[in-house]
């Protein structure tokens, strides 16, 4: 079961069982829905940006442990960050999901990842990568909408 332990690290199960930042935000916060049409996972990201800073983020939706933990970890990682920093975190996370064949994260990037590094095990389970990235793609969309 060593493979599975890599996927279901304790941090992930914790974020799955106790997701952070659940809930909704009222407008003017933007609301963006994300779907994984293949498996039915759904996520709704509510994003409040003021003066270039992610002042609040809330999430609703349903999905597997990976998609839920990933979204929870994401919300914790970007809340309070500047939009530029948030985009940088998205970039670092995406690199992580490209696996060891892509550019290895540098120590400083790994530090930036913090708890997110727990998601590194997903790379060994290619079909689950889509579960992990759903929230992040939805966040990108939400950031794009706030800057329109």
């Amino acid at each position: 079961m060593s493979g599975l332990d890599d996927l279901y690290r304790e941090i992930i199960l914790d974020h799955y069982r106790t997701p952070r930042n659940r809930g909704e935000l009222d407008p003017p916060a933007v609301r963006v829905e994300g779907f994984n049409p293949l498996c039915g996972d759904e996520i709704v990201v509510y994003l409040a940006v003021t003066d270039g800073v992610v002042t609040d983020i809330k999430l609703t939706g349903q999905g597997c442990s990976i998609s839920q933990a990933s979204s929870s970890l994401m919300s914790a990682a970007v809340k309070g960050k500047s939009v530029d920093e948030a985009r940088a975190v998205i970039g670092t996370f995406k690199d992580l999901m490209m696996g060891p064949s892509a550019t290895e994260p540098t120590p400083s990037e790994l530090r930036k990842l913090g708890e997110l590094a727990a998601l590194a095990g997903v790379v060994k389970f290619p079909v689950r990568i889509k579960c992990a990235t759903l929230a992040w793609n939805t966040l990108t969309q939400a950031l794009d909408e706030t800057s329109n």
Partner: protein, 412 residues
Amino acid sequence: MSTFDPRLVRGDIAQLKRVVNGYPLTYLDSGATSLPPRAVVEAMDRYYALHHANVHRGVYQTAAEATALYEDARSAVARFLNAPGGASEIIFTKNCTESFNLLARSWGAANLTAGDVVLLTEMEHHANIVPWFQLRDAIGIEVRFIGVTDDFRLDLTNLDELLRGVKLVSVTAMSNVLGTINPIRELADAAHAVGALLAVDGAQSVAHSPTDLVAMDCDFLAFSAHKMLGPTGIGVFWGRQALLDAMPPFLGGGGMIGDVSVNGFTSAPVPARFEAGTPPIAEAVGLGAAVRYLEGLSMAHVAAHEAHLTADALTRLNDRFDGRVRIIGPSTVDRRGGVISFDIEGVHPHDISQVLDQHGVCVRPGHHCAKPLMKRFGLNATARASFGPYSLTSDTDALLDALDDAMTMFGA
């Protein structure tokens, strides 16, 4: 005389000899696709090694052989279904989904106008929903749904009302999520009584119980080879001869024409009219072999075997997990087949499937292309185990042990 023995069937399936993650493969995803026996793959190999040529237009020996093999497959399918008009009612498509698109765009576009109603059910697969929405968006028909009761049956209490204005009822013979087997003959009679036709989605029924088109008295039937021990890349569309004869072509191209000039074209008789381009020849040969294989097992024996497996699995899931594994579907084998969807509080179907994979157990998580049904029951996904003729109660043993592990892991 059938000498049906599931262990012999199992011996014919190469993939079941695989070891995955240290466990022998436990394949419980026949509802998604079935594992072809050696005879099917060998028939296709032999075809490519000896007889491959393009069909219908060749005079030389191998072209004649390829044509004969292709048409033999058509005859085999007609016999397997007890098609009242024989082989010329059998049309080879690429899959069950194309068959429904053919029905909607050929029969549908020619026979329906704005306001006409097509009546589906809430338990249909997207293959029998989306083409009708596409037709609705094109010509303004109404798409209506028969509801599903809390005990996973079609709600036929208001059928008379639902049938008002209906020109076609299109229903699955067996739900690919619930396992529910629908009362096809009853629906055929009800449809015909109001002058409507009945189309049947046989994707989940043809490989699991005998099909008798005369007894069913439906008007159209669609299914895929890959769910009945056959190859990918081929499906079947059956219609009554008189209906097919009156239908305009669907896809245009070689083989479906009478004549072509720079001014226009005329179309060929059925079935050629609906088989544009080079057909799935090797795949038809494989499907023919699958049909013969199933006939050799006898579909009645296959049905009995799967009913036994299903009853055993339902009982044991309930006994062992004491209600923590909730079955999404009828709880007994009364009018239900060997597709078992379930839900475990606190463990998402994806995670169930992932942990089960670690035990070599293959089950499918997701909406199973039946999102309206998922919405009906407030679910996003289920995990689904489904049987085939090669399944054994030992597969259920493996499933139960693996489920135990998943529930422990997630504290459910």
